[in-house]
């Protein structure tokens, strides 16, 4: 498949953002969440609950309060870049520790990124947990 230079640049930008974001989630870095998600984002968590930006920002504190040591990474990533928007689909791997035991959970995520004023941000995000037996 032949891709334009713009497409390649867009793909690189959103991939870099995704990796930086996942690395920052474990730290609960509010500034990273703030710039990653657009103010008008529609976010659907793996429990099927929809959240807006304010609810996403509030959930960061909840994770920190729970003392979560979870780390996140992306694999099996697909990016479709279109002019000023891009769709990113990937499997998110969450490694966590519960009572000294390592636990891993998998989620399939789709993010829609939009570039406005030269800045890429997520305007839609949707997560679905992948059952461990699949």
């Amino acid at each position: 498949m032949i891709r334009s230079r713009n497409e390649v640049t867009s793909m690189r930008s959103v991939l870099m953002m995704l990796r930086d974001f996942l690395a920052a989630v474990a730290r609960g870095d509010k500034q990273v969440f703030e710039s990653f998600f657009a103010d008008d984002v529609i976010y659907t968590g793996s429990t099927g609950v929809r959240m807006d930006k304010a609810e996403i920002m509030n959930s960061i504190g909840v994770h920190a309060a729970n003392g979560s040591k979870a780390t996140y990474r992306a694999e099996d990533i697909t990016v479709h870049a279109y002019d000023t928007m891009a769709v990113v689909n990937f499997r998110m791997v969450m490694d966590d520790e519960n009572e000294g035991r390592r636990q891993t959970a998998y989620f399939r995520n789709t993010g829609t990124f939009l570039r406005r004023n030269g800045q890429w941000q997520v305007v839609a995000w949707h997560a679905t947990e992948i059952p461990t037996n699949s």
Partner: protein, 190 residues
């Protein structure tokens, strides 16, 4: 954070330069201010254009909502043409089981769904549409009514669709579904 640091460095540098070039600052500042104002005006105009589609936002909302409702009404007929028009060739579709398929996978599943759930009907409620120029995000709760062993059952799924307008035609380029438990509980990450 990197941007904030850069911003601080730029601000410090600008202040130092202003102190050093005090005598020439006035004239240059006027030019700089004019340039900054022009740049800001251009950026504001670009942002405005990005928010305001050529057709009004309301029209986009109406169009994609109608497309969604027509599609859901047509699903029980298992009309492959409807699926073919609704989903773009490059769609990325993630089912509620967490499996991602392409357009070919969607088309193949039309017959599977018809065989497994011949009496199922679908409707959308709690619909939110965010329109942007040639892009629209649609989030809604899918309600599936089905009859299993003579008993009526209802299941709920939260769906997000990304619609893209190309050559005057809206099509779905991304779709994901998550089953909604009867009592949604924790908002854990995912």
């Amino acid at each position: 954070m990197r941007r904030a640091t850069k911003g601080r460095i730029k601000a410090c540098t600008a202040m130092a330069l202003l102190a050093f070039w005090a005598s020439a600052a006035s004239a240059r500042n006027q030019q700089d201010s004019a340039a900054v104002a022009a740049k800001q005006a251009k950026e504001a105009k670009t942002a405005q254009e990005a928010r305001e589609p050529k057709e009004t936002a309301n029209e986009t909302v109406e169009q994609v909502t109608r497309l969604l409702r027509d599609f859901l009404a047509a699903v029980p007929r298992s009309d492959k043409q409807v699926f073919d028009h609704f989903f773009a060739d490059d769609v990325i579709y993630t089912r509620s089981a967490g499996v991602t398929v392409d357009k070919a996978g969607i088309m193949k599943n039309v017959d599977v769904r018809a065989a497994n759930e011949p009496q199922a009907t679908y409707e959308a409620d709690d619909i939110t549409v965010h329109p942007y120029d040639h892009l629209a995000i649609v989030n809604f709760r899918l309600v599936m009514h089905n009859t299993v062993n003579g008993r009526q059952e209802t299941a709920y799924f939260r769906n997000t669709g990304t619609f893209l307008k190309r050559n005057g035609k809206w099509q779905v380029v991304a779709w994901q579904s998550t089953r909604v438990p009867e009592q949604p509980g924790d908002k854990r990450a995912g």
